[in-house]
């Protein structure tokens, strides 16, 4: 019978009137790989903060580590107990060497003010050998890839004598090979006795390594399950409490190619990409990170000019050197990173919506017509059903789903023929997702050509007329969703199957 490393019972936490966690129990076995899943805002980050001692739970909580009761868990005592969190930003020092990054916690702990470089190097070498990775110890960490930096973070945790490794969204920015490599390392760690807790929403990847899964919904624990018992549909049901029924889009495709790309290539990005997007069609481009799909989208939108190949809009060859050219040719793009690229969070909803069409809002004397501007913003808010407290409210005050609607609204304002959406439902609750899908489908029905880029096969399967699969910068195949069985889509590994050849 596996011993339990961490047991927490009766965990509750309230933040200014909102019950973030409500009587949650969790038990993690020693040496297991456990995963914590749940929607945005379900309370999993709060739970992690409590486990790592950053926040204190309310009265009535009981915590045991390896059978010993713990009364006051602070972040320092958590670290001493071997509980270490690796956050998504990795917290690596880019200007210091790999060895120094790895040895940093130990170095800071030591009593002597002098740095013993020999010890630093030895510790780093020891730890990397222990888990079987080879890292360039004397190179500056900032020069390494994200995957390697993650390995540095893991090595640092081990150097700090971690026994429970908590990783927040570990696979979010990794390519398929890098994910495989990470899992090899995690399994090696497990052999050496490490307990691992993942927090992730990338179900297809995590399911391949997690042994047990704890699902949190609205601050309560729904249950803990063996991962082999679960599939995509079951998991979504557990996370949301609802059976989300997706409907396939209607056939709104017209025969004309409104966008055609021929033999598009760019070194280090993608090679020889050709396809046609029809009027009224929703085309999905899918593939794992590193497949070149976002790079391709940015190229079509003018922000990453290709080296070879041509782009045609409505049959006419167009030269797109920057995104202003793209916009003039009827293109629009909602980028992947809403906070950094899609919206200006500190500015009002109105400012965000009209930014793309300010030229059309000028009065006779070439000044912005304030009333026209407000009217346009209000109209789009109404058309797209965006819930806002006020048109002047900063974009950051909106929910994820509504923020995404604003990000789309600003492109709808330009009346585009072609709209590219990269990761349209990232950071959006499952409830709000269907609303966004409906919005996309009605846009297509009105004649717009839409490209959805996503690594969630589910998403492109249910919402697209056609699917293009990319891998390592090449276009592998074209799929017709109607020829794929719905149950197969439920398999976490379906995308890997298509890219395996």
């Amino acid at each position: 019978m596996a011993q339990e490393f961490l047991v927490m019972k009766g965990i509750s936490k309230k933040f200014s009137g909102i019950q973030a966690l409500n009587n949650v129990d969790i038990a993690i076995n020693e040496g297991e790989i456990h995963c914590l899943v749940g929607q945005n805002g379900c309370g999993k980050s709060t739970l992690i903060k409590i486990i790592s001692g950053v926040i204190k739970p309310e009265k009535g909580a009981n915590i045991w580590i390896l059978g010993n009761p713990v009364h006051h868990l602070t972040s320092t005592s958590a670290i001493q107990q071997g509980i270490l969190v690796i956050y998504q930003d990795l917290s690596i020092f880019p200007n210091l060497t790999v060895a120094e990054n790895i040895a940093m916690p130990k170095m800071l702990e030591s009593n002597s003010e002098l740095v013993n470089w020999r010890k630093v190097r030895d510790l780093a070498a020891e730890v990397t050998a222990k888990i079987g990775v080879s890292l360039p110890l004397e190179k500056n960490a900032g020069l390494l890839s994200i995957a390697d930096r993650q390995l540095i973070a893991i090595c640092r945790a081990i150097a700090g004598d971690a026994r429970l490794l908590i990783m927040d969204e570990p696979t979010a920015s990794l390519t398929r090979e890098e994910v495989d490599q990470l899992f090899v390392v995690i399994k090696e760690l497990q052999r050496k006795g490490m307990t691992t807790l993942f927090v992730s929403h990338k179900l297809n990847e995590i399911m391949s390594i997690a042994e047990r899964v704890t699902v949190i919904r609205d601050g309560k624990k729904v249950g803990t399950y063996q991962s082999k018992e679960l599939d995509n549909e079951k998991l979504i049901y557990l996370m949301t409490g609802k059976n989300i029924a997706y409907s396939r889009p209607q056939d709104t495709i017209k025969p004309q190619c409104i966008l055609e790309v021929k033999n598009l290539s760019k070194k280090g990005n993608y090679k020889d990409i050709s396809f046609c997007l029809h009027e009224g069609e929703i085309l999905g481009i899918t593939g794992l990170l590193g497949s070149g799909r976002t790079e391709l989208a940015l190229s079509i939108f003018g922000m990453n000019p290709p080296e070879k190949g041509d782009i045609f809009v409505n049959g006419a060859l167009v030269k797109i050197h920057n995104n202003r050219d793209a916009i003039k040719n009827g293109l629009g793009m909602v980028p992947e990173d809403r906070m950094g690229q899609g919206l200006i969070m500190n500015h009002s909803v109105e400012a965000n919506i009209v930014v793309t069409v300010m030229k059309t809002l000028l009065s006779r004397i070439k000044l912005i017509h304030l009333r026209k501007r407000k009217k346009l913003a209000l109209k789009l808010v109404a058309d797209l059903n965006i819930k806002i407290p006020d048109i002047d409210a900063p974009a950051k005050t909106l929910s994820g789903g509504n923020q995404q609607r604003v990000a789309v609204a600003k492109w709808i304002a330009t009346d585009p023929q072609i709209l590219i959406l990269d990761g349209p439902t990232i950071g959006v609750d499952v409830h709000a997702k269907s609303g966004i899908y409906e919005m996309i489908k009605s846009l297509a029905a009105a004649g717009m050509g839409i490209i959805i880029i996503s690594d969630e096969f589910n998403e492109v399967y249910y919402n697209c007329h056609r699917i293009l699969v990319m891998d390592h910068g090449r276009l592998l195949q074209e799929l017709n969703p109607q020829e794929i069985k719905a149950e197969d889509v439920n398999d976490f590994n379906i995308l890997t199957q298509y890219t395996a050849n």
Partner: protein, 330 residues
Amino acid sequence: MFNKQEPMGKLNLYFRKNSDIATLSCVLAAVVLLMIWLNPGQFLKSDNFESMAFQLPELGILALAMAVAMLSGGINLSIVASANFVGIVMAIMMTKIHGMDPGLLIPLAIITGLAVSAVIGILNGVIISMLDVSPILATLGSSMVIDGASLIITKGYVISGYPDTFLNIGNGYLFGIPFPLFILIFCIVGVSVLLTRTIFGQSIYLLGSNTTAARFSGINIKAAIIKTYAISGLLCGIASIIMISRFNSASQGYSTSYLLITVLLAVLGGFNPDGGFGKVSGLVLALIILQIISSGLNIFGLSSYLTLIIWGAILLLVMGVRAIGVKYGK
């Protein structure tokens, strides 16, 4: 969708949305009352207001130049150097070119001066946007180059002796109001309209807040930044006209304390040094507040060095208040 609001409600809403302006208005009222209470006889005299109306404009225009740069997320540390240099250029034209009708010479000198100031601004903008240099270093570097050029040209001397008509700009009246004040009002209105009612103005707010998202929205970042610093430079040129006309001389070394004061004015006026926020109306209120404090201090006969300390302290105070405000806002 939204409730209809009665007039008082609208006023409340305005003040809540523009809390900066509201706070500044209160501070202004408090300062005025304080000055009147401390020294009623002197303060309320009309020539006190008059001398304010002459000094205030050049400072206000330079503060606008600083504020515009800050709005884009940068800073312009070369405003004083630029103003001095442009002043020297105009002074040389007006004093060394003989045989030209002053009616032609003066406008020519002014136009040349403004053109030079705009060019300096464009160069700053190019270095920042195309060479990817941080605004602090770019404008520090350019201020040194400009100061160097000023020194080389003047060899440390002061250039003076302008035609009378030119002196009227800095010292004359129009309809009983000092002419520099008109120029200031013109600049205030101009910059305000530029920022709130033109595409360019709106673009600066957006790119100052999040340059990447602004780029993704189709805003031409490089062009906008170059224009920003060009306008900043142009404003320095305008301020320079008033300055040399008032002093009746041009030199490399003038107004070095103005740099601190313009930063203070911009920050006090609600311009966020990180960019993206700030209103001209706030700057105007800050200008009035600072001018009143300054006049009050002059009346007390305080040394000008002491005022430096006070400005420095006020800047720190303002940042402290803002920091607390941010913490409580969360």
